[in-house]
Symmetry: C2
Subunit: 299 residues, 2 copies
DNA sequence: TATTGTATATTTGTTTAATATTATGCAATA
DNA sequence: TATTGCATAATATTAAACAAATATACAATA
């Protein structure tokens, strides 16, 4: 049985990111060897990824010379990423399972076999999804046979809990003695926020949108150089992605959110950490309040 | 091939815990059905667990009547738990892998097959251990083949990072609006601390000791009713268990630590949350400082 | 009436073998 | 001299089959 190619699509996305970050121009040589080293893989999957990009017209190939960028980095459509085969962590089964559980179409306790029959998926795929859901705290293994769905992480209260948790750790991360902001990374964040503010928020998919905004917080917390903080924020964001998937997205809140993000970045850039920390806490509190007002969105 | 029995030993431990919590007396009937319902399994593994306890002389069985406690709960030796077959999460391979990596006996990047050959274990067991190590943030999957060991979580800095993280979330958990202390659980914690203070800290194994002290913090944070806080603390503690495994344990610090824990419990019991939160932060800061003074221990 | 004992059914962990994917070494090329 | 192209080797995923553990149903017992 053919097994789903998962690595090349992922690499294709990484390559596009890399091209954008470097702002490469049309005609730039994309050395397979260099990319392979950069992404900790061999040239084989890199070449497969480049072939995918060639199909999209983003790169061209020349015999014995390799691949070359076919257009300037700015002109690569933001939708290009979505044309690529989905990577695993976006397995639709994950979301379908969550939906079915929420709508009472599944009993609290289920066996793996039941789920396999219900969705007619191989065990391997189901187990990955269940594992993922377990990490996201809405499914747990029973000690013996079977799994149990938990309501807690899919309830509206989970929104609040997530924000309360972020309000505890994100501002604290800014005050860590090991905190050190990377200027280049900050600059990149500024560019992204400006892009979103200038209408980009209406162009890209909600999934990409979430990735960008959640990514901002992850990058900033990452500056703390404390992996406990970084991983904790990533975990909250995985759950938030699930919750957001279910709510309608109010893109009108974005301009204000972007302004607040830019202000935050400025404070961090100046090294004004106490102020930045307090500002971040207020920012999160405000986002929580607008969520509570049943206005969906993200921060 | 025989698969290792993992559930019955786990259940045996849970049954002993249950007996201790209820303070059951010799002769009490241990209904297999009730235990099965309580632990979300069927009677089969419960009966196997009870047979294990019978071999230890902790329970006796009567034809057609089931199992009965053979001694008062207080007289069950604390070492009884250690006689039982180890549950999986204590797989020695996990610690051996960590040791070997720390001592430079493994290269940074390894393939699963290499490790399988090196330790001559089946892939299933290896994968569980690697998965575990990945959750504990000292191993990561490479995008293609192989795994990479990370130095960061095994370095001395990880101690500090862990405490800094706990100082951010544990005091905050006490201030959550959803915080609600369970009187019975608090009372149980008090008993445990008194037991430890009165010399118990010298009787039980270091593993049990760690479980008790870490458990105290997990229970208290659990009162926040916010699963993000609870899970985050559990995660830090898993890493701490690994770090503690390598250091010598200074049991002399325990009396003071227990006094501080009792004070903290008292403040929580009184509902004096602001003071309790501040006290907890100081307590953690003090524990961090004594760690930094290369005095091993736990809090 | 709840619990145990026992037989039967179901589920899941494990292993094996097949196969797609990834890694590597070396000659050819720019 | 670094990179590509290609052949070979190593690796890891998958499915299928088997066996052990767990769940369930029902009669027997206290």
């Amino acid at each position: 049985m053919a097994r789903q190619r998962v690595l090349p699509p992922q690499l294709a996305r990484k390559i596009i990111d890399y091209i954008r970050e470097r702002g490469l121009e049309s005609g730039s040589h994309l050395a397979a060897q260099g990319l392979a080293d950069m992404f900790d893989v061999s040239r084989i999957p890199v070449n497969t990824a480049l072939k995918l990009l060639e199909e999209q017209g983003i790169v061209t190939s020349e015999r014995n010379r390799g691949y070359f960028l076919a257009q300037d980095s700015e002109s690569i459509a933001y939708t290009a990423l979505e044309e690529l085969p989905q990577a695993f962590w976006d397995d639709p089964l994950y979301y379908q399972l969550a939906e079915d559980w929420l709508h009472g179409r599944l009993s609290e306790k289920v066996s793996e076999s039941e789920l396999m029959r219900l969705y007619t998926v191989p065990r391997s795929r189901l187990l990955k999804v269940l594992q993922h859901a377990m990490e996201d705290m809405w499914v747990e293994r029973l000690p013996g046979h079977g799994w149990r769905f938990l309501a807690v992480m899919i309830s509206p209260q989970a929104y609040v809990d997530g924000y309360r948790f972020r309000m505890a750790i994100e501002p604290a991360a800014l005050l860590e003695p090991t905190f050190k902001a990377d200027k280049a990374a900050l600059e990149k964040l500024v560019e992204q926020q400006i892009f979103l503010m200038k209408g980009g928020a209406r162009q890209i998919s909600r999934n990409e949108l979430f990735t960008l905004t959640a990514g901002l917080h992850e990058v900033i917390v990452g500056f703390s150089n404390n992996p406990f903080f970084t991983e904790a924020v990533k975990k909250v964001n995985r759950v938030r992605r699930l919750l957001d998937f279910r709510s309608t997205l109010n893109r009108d809140r974005f301009p204000r959110q972007c302004r607040e993000h830019l202000k935050l970045i400025e404070l961090i850039d100046r090294g004004n950490m106490k102020t930045a920390s307090a500002y971040l806490k207020t920012h999160l509190g405000g986002a929580l309040n607008s969520k509570l007002g049943f206005i969906a969105g993200g921060s």
